[in-house]
């Protein structure tokens, strides 16, 4: 019983994430890469992404706190973050990054700070959601089932 419930939950959750635009097709692609030889591929990639995010966000914050802001540097960070997000399929984060880059080019400090704030928000939401997803998947696995894939 639990298993079926869990599976349904997972499916629903994933569907939601996609619907809301938190994740895009790239995430599906990642899931496709998960097989017997790399059963935790998605988890590993996403964890790496989280670490990367923390790092980059921290850098961005520090850079923007400087009295004289090095916009090029900030732009570099944002570009990196955008790349990472695109790789894992974090769509909303990616979009915010795109916007952020424009602001960096315009050297708009206020705008950048606002963007950064939004970025952090999006990131934390995504993180929560994904962690929940992983937990569900883990539960399924412990219960002996297989993780349902999104087509």
């Amino acid at each position: 019983m639990d298993l079926i419930l869990l599976r349904r939950k997972v499916i629903e959750h994933q569907a939601n994430l996609f619907r809301e635009g938190y994740l895009d097709d790239q995430f599906t692609q990642l899931q496709k890469l998960q097989d017997e030889s790399s059963p935790d591929f998605v988890f590993e990639v996403v964890t790496m992404y989280f670490d990367d995010s923390e790092n980059l966000l921290g850098n961005m914050t520090r850079a923007l706190e400087q009295p004289i802001v090095d916009f090029k540097q900030v732009d570099a960070y944002v570009h990196q973050y955008k790349g990472s997000s695109a790789s894992v399929g974090a769509a909303r984060v990616k979009n915010v990054c795109a916007n952020f880059r424009n602001l960096c080019e315009a050297q708009n400090r206020e705008g950048c700070l606002k963007s950064l704030h939004r970025l952090k928000q999006e990131y934390s939401v995504l993180k929560t959601n994904l962690q929940y997803l992983f937990k569900l998947q883990q539960d399924i696995r412990t219960a002996g089932g297989s993780i349902p894939m999104m087509d």
Partner: protein
């Protein structure tokens, strides 16, 4: 007083005697003493004296004799016993030594005498050796002369110089009075004086060649002594009072080039000789020595060799000059020919245009006229005009085509076309004529005949049309059948084309078309003439069929250009005729896209789907995206190495990696730089991994930059599994892939 033997003085006359004895004894003693002194003195002076012992002995003997005489001085007066004893002992000693010396001399004197004879003997020997040495020296000098002479002779290749030098050097070496060379004249019947030592330009002395003395010299390969009175030797008036010097003559073989045949080295009797005459100075007692004759023979041989070399050289120079002349002439001829060809081409090009324009006008206007209201006679006239002008237009085209075909300036186009459609079109073009002539025509296309082929559609159609047209033209009744199929080697085995071979290949096939008609046929003798330009068979049936006779010639040219063969078979008059031709057409490429309805046999998703173990390298400084790309490739079975910087990438990359994926939207890092480095590192094309750029950048400039940097491909992110799969297979097959941005 004791008695003594001394002689008592009797009176004053005995005193004189005693005085004289006294003096003589004294002088004798003196002499005796001085002789050994002299001996010792002189022997000491001389360097060698073998008989010292003898000297000592002799010295002792003389000294003792002297002593004896000296002691005698004391015995004239009264003397004591002591003196007597001394005297006696001296005498005894003297006697002993004298005897010994006398005995010694018996041995010594013969020795001394023999020394003398030996001395004489050695003197003679020395004189003899001196003489011999003089002789050897002369010989050696002669040898040197020969060498020098030879060297002089060989050092030039000019015949005149050779001969002159010979004479001069010989004259010098042997101290000759005169040296002459007689050469055979052109006729070979006389010997002409050509060179002499003393006279500068000998004029016109000739002697007939068949004199006995000359024959004698010519038949012998050694130097022969001849009489100074014979005609060849009588060159100058006799200046000397006595005998003219001895004369020697020797033959010098003149080797002609024609004498050199491979099999028999010149031992033929048709040899020509020159005669060399050498005269010793008159009024000298000199005679020809053996070694001098040998020298002359050697020189004569050398001269012969040198002359032959000179002759060969002359010959080769002449041949070379001839060749050069010919070359020049040929060059000129070639240039003239080229000019002629150019002129003709220009003419044709101009004429082509000039002729076609009026032609076009005539045809166009005549056809327009045809549409108007005309009387029957007028219509007939217009039709004739049209027909004639059409014919003329065709003729002009044919001529132009043929001339272009002839000088090879015609090139076939190659494009993919519908083969079946070509046949259908020919059919439709010929159908009107066929129905008018009440013939029937059938077309058979083999089932394995490809629908599409690569080649020159227009010319192929022209060929088929021509052949079919001929078939129709020469048939009054019956049927015509056209068959087309793919030719395989076996089907060609028995045909009349012994020297035409099908070369099987994956990219070409051979189309074989056979057109059979049941028309008038051709006599087998005429068949070869068919393909000649402007030749027409003379049979009545064809006389008024029109045609310029160029058609088949042109077809043959086209077929040859298509690497094929065309031929006609016929059993005879009235038995119909079969024209067959084979041409090589290309198979259109399978990966040629949507244009072709021709579906290749391989599945659409062809190519590799299995990349197991394919070594690739991923370079990306973004950890997440790097991991994702790696995962993608691992999922497809590749063996992935990762690098997060250009340095790391260059360190890790090896020729085992087949593809390098690099992210080029990294700011601050010029990804293109990596491409350049990789090109530098792998100079051999097959070792170098393919370089593919991954970018999320949808900039048009990116693609150009990638291509400029020498990358083999560009893919846009995000990349799905399927996309990566097809990308990899495309890359590995074609080695290049630039996604459309």
């Amino acid at each position: 007083m004791e008695s003594c033997n001394c002689f008592e003085a009797q009176g004053p006359p005995d005193e004189l005697l005693m005085k004289y004895q006294y003096i003589s004894d004294f002088f004798i003693a003196l002499a005796y003493f001085s002789i050994p002194l002299e001996l010792i003195y002189f022997v000491k002076k001389s360097a060698v004296f073998p008989y010292r012992w003898v000297l000592v002995q002799f010295g002792a003997f003389i000294v003792l004799c002297g002593a004896t005489h000296l002691i005698n001085l004391w015995t004239f007066t009264m003397h004591s016993k002591t003196v007597a004893v001394v005297m006696t002992s001296a005498k005894v000693l003297t006697a002993a030594v004298s005897c010994v010396t006398a005995l010694m001399l018996v041995h010594i004197i013969p020795d001394l005498l023999s020394v003398k004879t030996r001395e004489l003997f050695l003197k003679n020997k020395a004189a003899e050796l001196d003489r011999e040495m003089g002789l050897i020296r002369t010989q050696e000098e002669t040898g040197r002369h020969v060498r020098m002479l030879t060297h002089e002779i060989r050092s030039t290749l000019d015949r005149h110089t050779i001969l002159k030098t010979t004479l001069v050097e010989l004259g010098r070496t042997l101290a000759l009075e005169e040296c002459a060379l007689w050469m055979p004249t052109r006729t070979g019947l006389e010997l002409q004086l050509t060179y002499t030592l003393r006279q500068q330009n000998p004029v016109g002395y000739t002697v007939p060649i068949h004199l006995p003395v000359i024959n004698q010299v010519f038949s012998n390969n050694r130097a022969v002594k001849i009489s100074p009175n014979c005609p060849v030797a009588r060159l100058r008036p006799l200046a000397g009072k006595y005998m003219p010097g001895e004369v020697v003559a020797i033959r010098v073989p003149l080797l002609h080039l024609s004498n050199f045949q491979i099999n028999d080295w010149p031992e033929l009797s048709t040899r020509r000789y020159a005669l060399m005459v050498l005269m010793l100075p008159s009024d000298s007692a000199r005679k020809w020595h053996v070694h001098e004759l040998e020298l002359v023979e050697v020189v004569a041989d050398q001269v012969a060799v040198a002359l032959s070399h000179a002759a060969i050289l002359e010959e080769s120079m002449r041949a070379r000059d001839l060749l050069m002349e010919q070359n020049v002439a040929l060059d000129l001829a070639r240039r003239e020919a080229e000019t002629a060809i150019h002129a003709r081409n220009d003419f044709l090009a101009v004429m082509n245009h000039e002729m076609r324009t009026p032609m076009h006008a005539i045809i166009a206007l005549s056809s327009l006229l045809q549409e108007t209201e005309l009387t029957p006679e007028q219509r007939l006239m217009i039709e004739t005009i049209l027909k004639s002008s059409n014919l003329l237009a065709t003729l002009i085209n044919d001529v132009l085509d043929l001339s272009r075909l002839e000088d090879g300036s015609l090139q076939l186009n190659a494009a993919t076309f519908n083969l079946h459609a070509v046949f259908r079109e020919v059919l439709s073009l010929i159908k009107p004529v066929v129905s008018v002539k009440k013939l029937s025509i059938t077309l058979n296309l083999a089932p394995d005949l490809p629908v599409y082929a690569v080649g020159d559609e227009k010319r192929l159609m022209q060929t088929i049309l021509n052949v079919v047209g001929n078939a129709v033209k020469f048939s009054k009744e019956g049927s015509i059948s056209i068959t087309a199929f793919v030719a395989k080697s076996e089907s060609l085995r028995d045909s009349r084309t012994p020297d035409f071979f099908l070369v099987p290949s994956d990219y070409h096939f051979y189309l074989r078309v056979q057109v059979k008609d049941s028309g008038s046929g051709i006599i087998p003798q005429d068949i070869p003439k068919l393909f000649t330009k402007f030749a027409q068979t003379q049979s009545l049936a064809t006389r008024n069929s029109g045609g310029s006779g160029l058609g088949l010639a042109i077809c043959k040219r086209f077929v040859n250009l298509m690497e094929g063969h065309i031929w006609i078979e016929s059993e005879g008059i009235g038995k119909g005729c079969t024209a067959t031709f084979i041409v090589k057409l290309g198979i259109p490429e399978r990966s040629n896209e949507s244009k072709l309805a021709f579906v290749p046999k391989a599945p659409v998703n062809h190519g590799q789907t299995n990349f197991l173990g394919l070594k690739v390298l991923v370079m990306d400084d973004n950890g997440v995206s790097r991991t994702v790309t790696k995962g993608l490739l691992v999922h497809l079975g590749c063996d992935v190495t990762t690098a997060s910087s250009i340095e790391e990438c260059m360190r890790v990359v090896s020729h085992e990696h087949k593809v390098v994926f690099m992210d080029v939207c990294m700011p601050g890092i010029d990804g293109y730089e990596l491409a350049v480095h990789i090109h530098e590192k792998f100079t051999k094309r097959q070792d170098r991994p393919l370089i593919v750029a991954l970018t999320g950048n949808t900039n048009k400039g990116t693609k150009d930059n990638c291509m400029r940097a020498g990358m083999d491909g560009l893919i846009l992110k995000p990349v799905s599994v399927d996309k990566m799969r097809s990308v990899l297979s495309e890359l590995l097959e074609h080695r290049v892939l630039f996604e459309v941005i």
